[in-house]
Symmetry: C2
Subunit: 366 residues, 2 copies
């Protein structure tokens, strides 16, 4: 096996060797040993966001998009109305999912370089027909951090249920369900938790789930039925990706050993700081105002003072052992570099040392 490049992307990410080695075993998915592993998974997920008193974990097979659809389809009823707060592609995706499912949906849009503003949300919630609000915690489109707690307070005061897409924040950025009112927190195995991809999950208020049984047209993505399955016998309703589950449990144990989300956030912040220092040294600029940039994935403007060919830049960095990510903005040429995964400041120092030569190749080749 050739040397694997470091994945500086929004995921799948570089994982710890111990996480990958946890996949070397076969499991009977209805055997007691795997039932115990599933129980540990569900319990650790809820504990990470202090939801033990109120919330339960409902993991499902599949990618992050699946859990967004499962949550919207299961929690938002046919007579409800969802307000999506959008400042990027992932907010728009939630709106698209809701529309496709036939749910009433409104979108409150903000610029891609601006956080969602609590005041505007309060205004929008004067519409008493809105029953649910969806927010993306960290919008991977740009890497912008939205003010989850301020929005949650506004939504709680107005009454609707808040659904938080915490896909790229869960496990690093602080979420405290004992203090912040959030109906459902949605995330997946392969971002800040640093597991392998293949499992997504919702941390949902028990009362909300109980109300939503049988709602929605999907058997596979029925969150309440999935939860009831776990409660009934500890098993997944349908064949789980056993190796991915084992990898995720190992990743959660490693997260605890690292010191929990706060320690992980500090490492990611160090990664980002090191990345920005190296990028600034070769003349690259952050797209966002730095205080808005979460330490998850950073968006950089393409150089404006010389030609720039993203594909050549990508290949030049790949040859040096790094995989980066294209930009997702339509009006500004950008690229993205992730700070998450089993990567450390020393990796970003090595990256900083090769950004200059890679930029030179990207400008010569264009």
């Amino acid at each position: 096996m050739s040397e694997t490049p470091l994945l500086l992307t929004p995921g799948p990410l570089t994982t710890d060797p111990a996480v990958r080695q946890a996949m070397l075993k076969d499991w009977g998915s209805r055997d007691a040993a795997f039932i115990a592993l599933t129980a540990e998974l569900r319990s650790r997920l809820v504990q990470l966001v202090k939801g033990e008193a109120t919330h339960v974990a409902a993991p499902i097979q599949g990618s992050g998009t699946y859990i967004l659809e499962a949550a919207i389809g299961s929690l938002v009823g046919a007579a409800d109305k969802l307000l999506v707060l959008a400042n990027g592609a992932y907010g728009e995706r939630m709106a698209a999912i809701a529309g496709r499912l036939g749910r009433a949906v409104e979108v409150l849009r903000f610029g891609e370089d601006r956080p969602v503003a609590a005041g505007a949300v309060a205004d929008a919630l004067k519409d008493a027909s809105i029953t649910h609000v969806a927010l993306v915690h960290c919008e991977t489109t740009t890497g912008i951090l939205n003010p989850c707690e301020a929005i949650a307070d506004v939504v709680a005061k107005a009454g609707p249920t808040l659904i938080l897409d915490a896909m790229s924040s869960f496990g690093a950025l602080p979420i405290d369900l004992s203090r912040t009112k959030i109906g459902a927190v949605l995330a997946s195995s392969n971002k800040c938790l640093e597991g392998a991809p293949g499992v997504a999950f919702a941390i949902v208020e028990r009362a909300l789930l109980a109300m939503s049984a049988g709602r929605g047209a999907s058997l596979s993505l029925d969150l309440a039925a999935q939860w009831q399955g776990f409660e009934a016998n500890g098993q997944w309703r349908f064949t789980p990706p056993v190796q991915v589950v084992a990898a995720l449990v190992e990743a959660l144990r490693l997260l605890e050993r690292e010191g929990g989300p706060a320690a992980r956030l500090r490492r990611y912040q160090d990664n980002l700081d090191t990345l920005i220092a190296g990028a600034t040294a070769v003349g690259l600029e952050l797209y966002l105002e730095p205080s808005l940039q979460a330490p998850i994935i950073a968006t950089f403007r393409a150089p404006s003072d010389r030609p720039f060919d993203f594909d050549a830049f990508y290949q030049a960095l790949l040859r040096r052992g790094f995989i980066i990510y294209p930009g997702k903005l339509t009006r500004v040429e950008t690229f993205r570099i992730g700070c998450i995964g089993a990567v450390h400041p020393a990796d970003f120092e090595r990256l900083g040392a090769v950004l200059g030569p890679a930029l030179d190749e990207a400008s010569v080749r264009s």
Copy 2:
């Protein structure tokens, strides 16, 4: 890591060490190396059932149930009517999925110990409003083999589109799309292909998929959109379980090395024959008439001449290194033992040697 028991179940199964070791690498899901892996996956899947001229492969994230729902939701339209041929729980599940999706559905039922009968299907297809027919190739409820080619001929003559749930047959039992008219063949990574669980797939007639774009209420389980994503840039629309994909490609290479589906079927048949010999020697009886029993998973009647506690039997076999499966019939007490996975006749000889002592423990303890 303690010694892993052999999994004699309908899956997840015991896999080859090379399959598990293929999971030891991280992949950038939008990088050229993973795009090439995905192309190899899709191409090998179509070739296995000789569909190159007519069919394409649309893999999705998730379990087998997801691909059933994706296929029914995407291929059966709101004005269509699905006839499900059912002789077990998996036929009933397809009917439940269709009903939940709001599709018109009828169920033609057969006894769980009887194969679906082509003559009865021909009669049912006199109803010209039926546009699609769904059949389970090997019904895991009992392990019965349904006569796929005879049914396909009847359906082709009448005109509807046949959807084949080949979950537990694909890769071992013969399916030849160049000779048998089947609109969509559905299966998953972790049965006769002997991969890790986490990916399911449809092998669909290209013309059918093209017609079905945008149909269905699910964004995640939209088969046509998934296919169009692969065609557009070789990438999965949403984060794929990269390690599971790598394991499946390795499993497909091993299948080729073994000699393809015909060779694999011979091994499974040897497994079943060895299993039946050992079981018969201690007085256990097959539930099905032997000619109907596919070499996938065998259903045995619980002993009638002495007390029998399935849980004690299960634990007694687990202590000896084997995981078996409970029965799924409501009216007859049975249990199931799978013949598939990286297991060989010698494993079933070892099993045969411990069935007697395990039965004794199961009868003492009850």
